[in-house]
Subunit: 325 residues, 2 copies
């Protein structure tokens, strides 16, 4: 009931009378009052005025299930939300939930990750209250080798959402980072569980640095947070809600064609590497070239000595040589 009341308060201009809430939910005034009390204990500022009713004036900076459900505007993504105050890693937890049968579109969120992971087993710094650490559980009917494009869907979604909510000039660093002024503000870790020709599930893990946190020295030069770049306050729940909306939007475009052709141009406009000299760390030898955008399969096109090459994220790493790493 908490999330229904929260949603009702949020969607109503001005005051909501206790009677309206009772009618809407089919419960007693006492029941409504108890929930209002509980919300206030959690940090929601709710004005209660005699003969007028209740009005939500401020929400706390929390990512709980009721908060997220009450602001959710998606059709299916996030219809199940699993929130944890502390978890080892939202990706690992999402995998566990997937094995137990959690549905397509489930979202796993944690305030603190004690063992947040990056690519290839690297750590991901994720202290409490400083960011948004979450994972999306997807069960698309695609072939395993089509899964990696979901990293591009996620990068699009996060970049668009940051731009809409904060007006910061977020850009995509292909394939799995979002950057601000060349510094990483978001990382994406897509993990696949598959049989030979069948996807069991895909977990898209997303970490967005929101508040300034103490990064280890080696990260200080390459990592940043949204609020570090300019004087602004970012409401984490609103930003997460917006990311889910954008993800749903681009995911459905992806499903139409099973490639990125329907948002390829939009993606390229946000591609920080575009037109720049980059270095491709190919296992068979590093080489340099100029990034010329992406192809329909989401591969990075690199103009180099040997002509135009399509770089598969499965084969190489890419390092910008002008400021980004």
């Amino acid at each position: 009931m908490k999330k229904e009341i929260l949603r009702f308060l949020r969607e109503t201009e001005g005051y909501v009378s206790g009677q309206q809430l009772c009618d809407h939910l089919g419960v007693s005034r006492t029941a409504v009052w108890k929930v209002i009390q509980k919300l206030m204990e959690e940090g929601y500022q709710i004005e209660a005025v005699r003969n007028k009713g209740y009005r939500l004036t401020e929400s706390p900076d929390i990512l709980g299930e009721a908060e997220l459900s009450s602001i959710r505007k998606t059709r299916w993504l996030g219809s199940s939300i699993y929130f944890y105050q502390e978890i080892d890693s939202t990706n690992t937890q999402a995998k566990r939930l997937a094995e137990e049968g959690a549905p397509h579109g489930s979202v796993v969120v944690a305030e603190v990750q004690t063992g947040g992971r990056g690519r290839r087993g690297r750590n991901w710094v994720s202290a409490g209250g400083s960011g948004i650490w979450f994972s999306l559980l997807l069960r698309p009917e695609i072939l395993p080798d089509q899964a990696s494009m979901l990293t591009l869907v996620a990068a699009m979604a996060v970049t668009k959402a940051i731009r809409r909510v904060t007006s910061l000039d977020a850009m995509i660093k292909w394939p799995n980072d979002v950057v601000l002024e060349g510094k990483k503000v978001c990382g994406i870790l897509t993990e696949l569980s598959a049989q030979i020709d069948f996807v069991n599930h895909i977990i898209v893990g997303i970490g967005i640095n929101v508040r300034r946190q103490e990064f280890p020295p080696e990260l200080e030069k390459v990592a940043t947070a949204l609020e570090q770049e300019r004087q602004l306050h970012v409401d984490r729940a609103s930003l997460l809600g917006k990311v889910l909306e954008e993800f749903e939007f681009y995911y459905e475009k992806y499903l139409c064609t099973l490639d990125v052709s329907l948002f390829r141009e939009e993606y390229q406009e946000l591609l920080v590497n575009y037109g720049r000299q980059i270095q491709v760390l190919d296992p068979s030898g590093a080489y340099e070239g100029v990034a010329r955008g992406i192809n329909e399969r989401g591969e990075l096109l690199v103009a180099c000595d040997r002509g135009l090459r399509a770089v598969n994220s499965g084969e190489v790493s890419v390092r910008g040589i002008y400021g980004y790493t």
Copy 2:
């Protein structure tokens, strides 16, 4: 200590004196006697003769960790064995253990699977005592799209092991079945957990039907068991031990070249589809052709109207039209 004593008894011709066991293990005679007692309670027949010592005359039909460890001849595969009297699915359990950090080469075995799985979420019938249900946990440094060839490694290993232990004419039905007289006696389910360009782990699940079990009517015509085909008794632990040996052998060949070229010819000799008319159930339309073996990537080569096509297990199903399904 149980597995050391068992191994010692097994590897010794004739009698092993109590003193030898004490010296070998550095424990007292009483301690040795207690373990011998325990083994006898579990069904091991151990002769104890005064002034001679102990001799193992018969092993019970069990797949426990001590039994398997004592007969293991592999170098690394099965160095950790997880045995369960009953589990939902050995593949699912292997995934859980993998997430908890179980090492490369772990083997998960169960007497009964309550939710055994086949490809694409199908069921796998796996009653207690009637077969060998197990999963191998592997952590190779390969790219995700090289993982599907491990199904071929497993099919090779099972077919060879069955032939060595029983002299039955087991054959491979590409890509993931082993058949006897055209009927399925073993199924393989390879599952991958991966990042874009990094394999977290691979689980190779193998189910071998050993004793006749009650199959559902729709399976009666297409499934069989080793002991159903001829009057013979198969020791499950020995067969499992042999499968592990053969798997290790072909797995290492696979790792040398990261394809199946080093055992391609051997594989083709065991391929039941070879030279036969088959039907390829391609999503874009079924077609018929003649199986001409496999290529180095483990794809089935099919000669059809449009020439020779390489059929990727990721794209099609194959159904023999003369007797096999």
